[in-house]
Every structure is written in C-alpha cells, then in structure tokens.
C-alpha cells in the first residue's frame, strides 16, 4: 500500500499542473471577488440566506471541478503515452513495479488524487472568498458564507460527488488509458476519432443515434444520475421575484441521490466496461515497448 502511495506521489511530481492550475484558478477567483462587482438581491429570511450561500459555494466549486474535468481528460490521454515517447518507461520498468500497479496508480491519480487536490483548492479559495464577501457585502450577506453546518454539508456533498464520478467516469477513464497505452502518435486524435467515427457511421447507415446518446449521457449526464434533479419540488427556496428568480435547495442533504445512482444499471455496466478497459490498458503497457 505504501508503495502504491509512492506511485501516486510520483504522478504529482511529474504533473505539476495538478497543483498549479487549481492554484491559478483560486487566485483568479479571489481577485475577481476582491475587485469585481458584487450584487446581491435583498434576502429576507434565514432560509433564503442559507440557500443563496449554498448556491454561491456550489458555484465556485463547479468552476474548479469543471476545469478539473478538462485537465483530467488530458492527463489520462498523456500519462501512458509520454513515458513511451520520452522512453522513460524503460527506467520505470527497470524497477520492481508491476504494470498493473503502474496503470492503477495513474487511474487513481485521475479519479481520486486530482479531485482531492481540487477539493482542497476549492475549500481554500472559498474560505478566502467568504471572508472577502462578508466584508464587501456586509449589509446583505454578512457572514452567511461562514456557516459551519453548511460547510460540513458541502464537504460531504463534494466527497459524494467525487466517489460517484469515479464510478460513473470509469469507462471514459479506461478508454483514455487504452488510447494512451496504444497510440504511437496523436493520442488525442485517437481518443476522439474512433467514437466519433462510430457515431457518424451509425447515423449514415442506420439513421439512428443510439451510440451518440449513450456517449452523451455518459459525458454530460453525471449530474442527472448522481443527484436529485427535481427542482421546484418541496424543500426548495425561491430567491428573488418574477422572471429572474431562481430556486435553491433549502438543505444540501436533499441533493445527493446515492440510492438512485447505485441502483441504476448504467452505473454498473459502466463500471464493468471500465474495468475491462483498464485491464486492456494494463495488458498494453505490459506488452508494448517500442525501441
């Protein structure tokens, strides 16, 4: 286990962007709250205040995790490709590390380590932002962003999101690892072109779009499967009036839907497909060393 942690640590050494991108993101958001325009609707009730704060905090987190999804995709395409390109794979393979351990360490880096780094960055940034907001919007929000209960809920929410995303995105991560271990050049093109070709062929010859739907649901459908999407239901708080109004959950506990997520067949077929693809990536790394 200790050895495995060192393998993940090695990934953090190699890919310093794992730290630098969230650090820059945090700096940019903090600067924006320092100097940007803060406009907050008149909030009257405690519930409204709490719901608005939750929305603000989730919004900041969404920025971080959105950026992360782009970076993690790139990381997975790159990780087994570059070590062959620069031939450093010959050094790593001269050490007593099984190919399965190497590939699993890279997978864990993408699905666990990188999200935890981004979570830490999100927390650090939003703490600073909450402080800035409490000063700048003293009259309206005040210390609303500092509620400990809300913070704890938010941590649980992010942790659930990271765990669920690791399961949901396993097949995509597995596919990217396969491409990364296989492609001799243009790994990014190889990651995109075959699925795209299947989608286009299906449309041209069958006139249907089952594959496109499947891929679309997998890529963009995460929020819908892992969280309750029933906006407007009971327990929601309305903020503002008329057409501009938005609704926010009164409590963050209402959002996660682990029961629904874990009982969904698509979750587990995805895990199975992902496991098969990761196995294939291990085989490729094991067998494929070019001169």
């Amino acid at each position: 286990m200790n050895r495995f942690i060192w393998l993940v640590r090695r990934e953090l050494w190699e890919n310093r962007a794992i730290w630098t991108i969230p650090a820059f993101t945090a700096a940019a958001l903090i600067l924006a709250t320092l100097f940007g325009r803060v406009q907050i609707e008149e909030l009257t009730s405690v519930e409204q205040m709490r719901a608005a704060s939750a929305l603000v905090l989730i919004g900041f987190g969404a920025v971080f995790f959105g950026i992360m999804s782009v970076y993690s995709t790139w990381y997975l395409i790159d990780c087994l490709y570059t070590e062959r390109k620069d031939r450093s794979i010959l050094f790593w393979k001269s050490l007593p590390i099984a190919d399965s351990a190497s590939v699993l360490a890279k997978l864990c880096t993408a699905l666990v380590a990188i999200p935890l780094v981004y979570l830490a960055a999100t927390d650090a940034a939003t703490l600073v932002i909450a402080f800035i907001v409490s000063v700048r919007a003293r009259a309206t929000l005040g210390g609303a962003l500092f509620q400990p209960g809300l913070w704890l809920q938010l941590q649980a929410l992010w942790m659930y999101g990271i765990a669920a995303a690791a399961l949901w995105y396993l097949p995509l991560a597995g596919w990217l690892l396969v491409v990364s271990a296989w492609a001799r050049r243009a790994a990014t093109l190889w990651a995109v072109m075959p699925p795209l070709a299947v989608v286009l062929l299906e449309k041209a010859f069958l006139g249907s779009h089952a594959v496109a739907d499947l891929l679309g649901d997998r890529i963009a459908g995460f929020y819908g499967v892992a969280f309750h999407a029933n906006r407007g239901a009971s327990g929601m708080v309305r903020l503002g009036d008329g057409a501009d109004s938005i609704v926010a959950p009164a409590s963050l506990w209402q959002l996660p839907d682990p029961g629904g997520f874990l009982s969904r067949p698509a979750t587990w077929t995805g895990v199975l497909v992902g496991a098969a693809l990761v196995y294939a990536a291990v085989q490729l790394r094991w067998r494929r060393v070019e001169s």
């Binding site: 090695r10 050494w13 620069d86 450093s88 050094f91 393979k93 050490l95 007593p96």
Partner: protein
C-alpha cells in the same frame, strides 16, 4: 557453475523481420559478458527478452524465472540501464533517490548519496538540466546502489563523449565490480569494454557467431602477419579473415595447428576488437 541466464533457441521476430534466430547462450555467475554486434544485429532484442520487456519464442530463464511473465519480481534481483536518455527530464535527483528507495527493497540510499556526491551531482537538480554524462552518472549511481545479482547494460554510453564514457566505465569498475557481480553488457563499441570482459558473445544478423571466454580466445584464435612469399602457404591453412593494410597482410586463423602457424611467422592472440572485425567482415578486407 551457477547459471543466471539460460537461452535455448531464443527467437524474436517483428513481422517478417527476424531479429533473433534460434540463439543459444548462457551467462554464469561472476562473469562479465559482452554481447557485441553491429547495429541491428539483435543485441537489444536479446536484452529486451532477458529483461522481460518483450515476448519471444524459445526458452529463456533469467535467475530461474521466465522473464516476460515475471518482470517485476525479476527486477528485485536484476537491474538495468538502457542508453542514457531514459531518466525522465522532470525528475529531480533527490526524487529519484527517494522514489527508488521507497520502491526497491534492495536499494541502499546512503550508497546512492555517496556515489552522487563523488560525481558532484546536487540533489535539487532536475535530470533535464544535467549533461548527458551526468545523467548517466545519476543512473549508474541509482543502479549501483541496488544489491542486484545481475546487472544488464544496453549500450550504456551511447551518445556520450570520450570523457563521459571513460568516467562511466571507471565508476563501474571501481565502485561496482567484484566477484559476486554478474554483468551482461551490449555494445557495438568493442574497444571501450574489451579490458573489462571475461566472456564475449558476438552476434550478427540474429545469430551468435562467437561464444567464448577471454582466456579461451588464445587457444582458439591466432593472428599472423604473413610475409609476401608465404601468402599461398598461409592461405592453405584456411584463415577466416585476411586483411591488407600498409602493404602488410594479416591473417586470422581459428583452431589452426600451432606448428604449422609457427612455420609462417610469429602468431599472437588477436584483440577482441580485431577479432570482432575479422569475424564479422569475413573473407578478405
């Protein structure tokens, strides 16, 4: 004798190209074996098979294991340096030491530190900032700090200048070699290893063309400078190679009767590099 590597009918093909053609060889404990051949002769293919980096046909046992299925376990007892460019550029020297120490149970951190200090390489440098020669010294320090039974070197000084080559082999001889070490080294630069070796394997076009100990060469091979009037008499003894330079003719004989050679002139044992040229060019040059 304790056999560390045993290859029987070892073959490797890439598509229709045959890189190794049913090769037999073995490496015994305490020997320093040079696997020597021109570029593309199959040296690297043989070494990759021994290291468990590639599939092959035939039988191969390295430290008693089948290497391809057991590479990770094999690397506990064997260590490996490929040519110089394989240490990743982003790695810091300290990180390389820490990581290897954490991963390899037979790695001695103090030993690595000692060797790096001797080569005057600072721990906070990144590999990409180092010269080729220093990169090689870092790799050698990491490898020599591992208590391995078998060291495999694949063209370890490729792309290095004379000074760096010399420094590499000096460090290897001084800080590593003793009677418990076994080394298999592939190279096409015969001159720089010939004083190191106890055994030679010449490989050409996927086949072993010579397999001998260094001591065994004297009994088997002779080189003679032949005076002009005795050329025909000498050719009757079937030299396997004949070379004319500066008006002199040198012939190389294998297992020729000593008495017959003595009649032609003064026989000497050819150097490994002369023998390499003679064996691989064949006939007259």
């Amino acid at each position: 004798m304790n056999t560390l590597i045993e290859a029987r009918q070892l073959s490797k093909r890439y598509g229709s190209q045959v890189a190794l053609d049913k090769v037999d060889f073995s490496v015994h404990a305490g020997r320093i074996v040079g696997l020597i051949g021109p570029n593309g002769a199959g040296k690297t293919s043989a070494l990759r098979a021994v290291l468990g980096l590639t599939t092959y046909d035939g039988e191969l046992a390295v430290l008693g294991r089948e290497p391809f299925a057991n590479r990770a376990e094999l690397m506990l007892d064997a260590s490996f340096i490929a040519d110089v460019a394989v240490l990743p550029g982003w790695l810091k020297v300290d990180q390389a030491v820490d990581f290897t120490a954490a991963i390899h149970p037979r790695f001695r951190r103090e030993r690595a530190r000692e060797l790096l200090a001797k080569a005057r390489i600072a721990g906070n440098r990144r590999i990409r900032e180092l010269s080729k020669g220093m990169k090689t010294q870092v790799h050698l320090a990491l490898t020599m700090a591992i208590d391995a039974r078998l060291l495999l070197l694949d063209e370890p000084t490729l792309g290095l200048d004379m000074l760096a080559r010399r420094a590499f082999y000096d460090a290897l001889v001084e800080d590593y070699m003793d009677e418990t070490r076994t080394i298999l080294i592939t190279t096409h630069q015969v001159e720089e290893v010939e004083n190191l070796l106890t055994d030679v394997l010449f490989i050409d076009r996927g086949r072993i063309v010579l397999d001998s100990t260094i001591e065994g060469l004297g009994a088997r091979f002779s080189a003679l400078e032949i005076p002009e009037q005795r050329l025909e008499a000498a050719r009757a003894l079937r030299p396997f190679h004949e070379r004319r330079t500066l008006g002199k003719t040198v012939m190389y004989f294998e297992n020729a009767p000593a008495a017959a050679l003595a009649a032609l002139g003064e026989a000497r044992t050819p150097s490994v590099s002369d023998l390499f040229v003679a064996k691989l060019s064949g006939g007259v040059s």
